[in-house]
């Protein structure tokens, strides 16, 4: 059962306290409250500031290389035998993923606020690289927190960040992955709150982060709207994106929320299968709780302890999800589904083979589900898959699974 959303309803969200219905909010220790309130105030002002928006748009064009193409995947469509499959090529952005849209925006905010020290958390390292990149460009000091486990798994990205001048801090606490990196980033922020700007990598965290990350990423959906009208003369029937924290998905979905006829599909990491418990699919198989500053769906045990997640894709390996997705799930506007590690790998191989495009393993989840969905749709229908990042970073993982040493 879906609610018809209007522009007015969307404008009112998040509300003044950062809530999307029952989700979102600002659940942080008192030390950070003043900074978050300042950030909210300044962002709401800059959001309307033509100078700020012009700089953002220019950076997206000249530094990121936007707009990214909307590409008709002819062979994939033929192989699938259903709806026309189009790909939004976020993998062609500078640094190879959608992450940079957000880091450009937040780094610009940091500059406008006069903050010289940047911190960020990262899982697979994509957000860390995107943050280190914009810091290099703007001459900002950059510290990236990364789970010790991920530092080992993603040594290439660690080295990229170091080349870009960032300091990478290996986090040894907890499960030594993304959630613990975020804990340590928060701890650093509390300690250095006066001079530090925290660039959160996904559409989660305390208000106003889910708002500003969504705004910065919405360029994806706005471009799709325009490009679909130009190239196909119509809006798509369905949009498909992977969801870890959910920033590429919200950026794709948001400009279409009021278009009832456009079906939205967020694809979570099903890992070894939802029934195995070894997954990272809080919207499909979790329940609401509070972590990292917001109320949202979480992977937790019956006592409210956050549990370890599993996904072949490090970027989806997170126990929470953005609060706006939690809300879209509850009102029935978007559908949240999952595909397993194996299906995602299949999606990777398929797109690589028939289109010559290697998607990131995160994006391969969207490919895998998109293909299944397209097969069930009519041939005159149109479906867009967000290829949120490129797969170069995952070649080692894939080779390892194939038993090949590189």
């Amino acid at each position: 059962m879906s609610v018809k959303l209007t522009e007015e309803m969307l404008k009112a969200l998040p509300d003044a306290r950062g809530h999307f219905g029952a989700f979102g909010g600002r659940f942080v220790s008192e030390t950070l409250m003043d900074s978050l309130m300042t950030l909210e105030r300044e962002y709401l002002r800059l959001r309307e500031d033509p100078d700020f928006q012009a700089r953002f748009d220019q950076d997206l064009a000249d530094y990121v290389g936007r707009p990214s193409p909307l590409y008709f995947a002819e062979r994939l469509t033929r192989e699938t035998g259903g709806a026309q499959i189009w790909l939004k090529r976020e993998d062609l952005n500078h640094t190879g993923a959608h992450k940079v849209n957000n880091t450009i925006g937040q780094a610009l905010l940091a500059s406008f606020l006069g903050k010289k020290r940047i911190i960020a958390e990262t899982g697979a390292g994509q957000h860390g690289v995107a943050t280190a990149t914009v810091c290099a460009r703007l001459g900002l000091e950059c510290h990236v927190f990364m789970g010790a486990e991920d530092v080992q798994r993603q040594s290439l990205n660690v080295y990229r960040m170091k080349l870009l001048g960032a300091q990478v801090h290996a986090v040894e606490s907890g499960t030594r992955t993304l959630k613990d990196a975020m804990n340590d980033a928060m701890r650093d922020w509390v300690t250095n709150v006066d001079d530090t700007f925290y660039i959160i990598g996904t559409v989660a965290g305390p208000h106003p982060y889910p708002l500003l990350v969504r705004d910065f990423q919405s360029v994806i959906g706005r471009e799709i709207r325009r490009q679909a009208m130009e190239k196909a003369g119509r809006l798509p029937d369905a949009l498909v994106a992977c969801v870890g924290g959910g920033s590429n998905a919200i950026g794709m979905f948001y400009p279409f929320l009021t278009e009832e006829q456009v079906a939205l599909y967020g694809v979570e990491a099903g890992g070894l299968g939802l029934e195995s418990g070894q997954h990272a699919a809080p919207l499909c198989a979790g329940r609401p709780g509070v972590l990292h500053g917001n109320r949202t769906y979480l992977m937790e045990d019956e006592n409210g302890q956050i549990i370890g997640t599993h996904s072949v894709s490090a970027g989806l390996d997170y126990p929470g999800v953005g609060p706006e997705h939690a809300w879209l799930k509850d009102i029935g506007r978007a559908n949240y589904v999952s595909v397993t590690d194996d299906e995602a790998l299949e999606g990777f191989r398929l797109l690589t083979r028939v289109e010559g495009i290697m998607p990131a393993l995160e994006s391969a989840h969207a490919v895998a589900y998109g293909v299944k969905l397209a097969a069930r749709m009519d041939k005159d229908q149109m479906l867009v898959i967000n290829v949120s990042g490129r797969g170069d970073k995952d070649i080692h993982t894939i080779a390892q699974i194939d038993g090949i040493e590189i």
Binding site: N183, E300, N303, I306
Partner: protein, 270 residues
Amino acid sequence: MSRIEGVLKALKGQGRKALIPYITAGDPHPDATVELMHTLVNAGADIIELGVPFSDPMADGPVIQLACERALRYGTSLRQVLDMVHTFRSQDDKTPVVLMGYLNPIEAMGYEAFADAAADAGVDGVLTVDLPPEEAEDVAPLFAKRGLDPIFLLAPTTTDERIRAISEHSSGYVYYVSIKGVTGAATIDVDEVARKVAHIHELTALPVGVGFGIRDAATAAAIGRVSDGVIVGSVLVDTIARHQADRVELKRALTNLLNPMREALDSLAS
């Protein structure tokens, strides 16, 4: 009058300052906690802050993170922590107990179920690190109805406007976080804390407890001079970590830490 208010009033009447030790429930083992709470009382504690272990203690430094990990290794749950308080209460009905932790275990139990169970167990106050008053609208009336004191944090970054608003939502005492940072981190600037606490006293009539960075009798006395109580956490938890294998030695070490703080605080009264 709540048990917390009663104790703090009585101390004030004697010109004394509250000594408020913190330990994490279930650390080093769930069966040690009640015994350690009694040890703290015997060593001079006026109020006990009992930490509820959480998998992601974002406001805590490494010492308390590890305490949470030790406690969670034995599956210490919020329900078990409430059982511990209940057991403690059967022998001590005077010392107030404040639960300190993060919101998610409380959410998982359900606000109403938690408020009932906490009141039944003999809990006196609840300090939820990641729950500012703005988000506490649902839970606050449930606490009030059962006589549980909601205790909120004030920080060096808290504006005057917020100090007033937060104090209005608090009862028992307010907890001033002496430094920008996590628990057990930096050494505190006593003069700076003194200035800020004096200012907080101008804005609220509630007693002010000060925590973060108090590790010995000297800092306890310096902070006690300007506040209504001192909260001591990481240095105790670190002691628990070092003596976890020997319960007798552990109790002696905790006592040896708290006794001089008690004396130093009481010497301020004379």
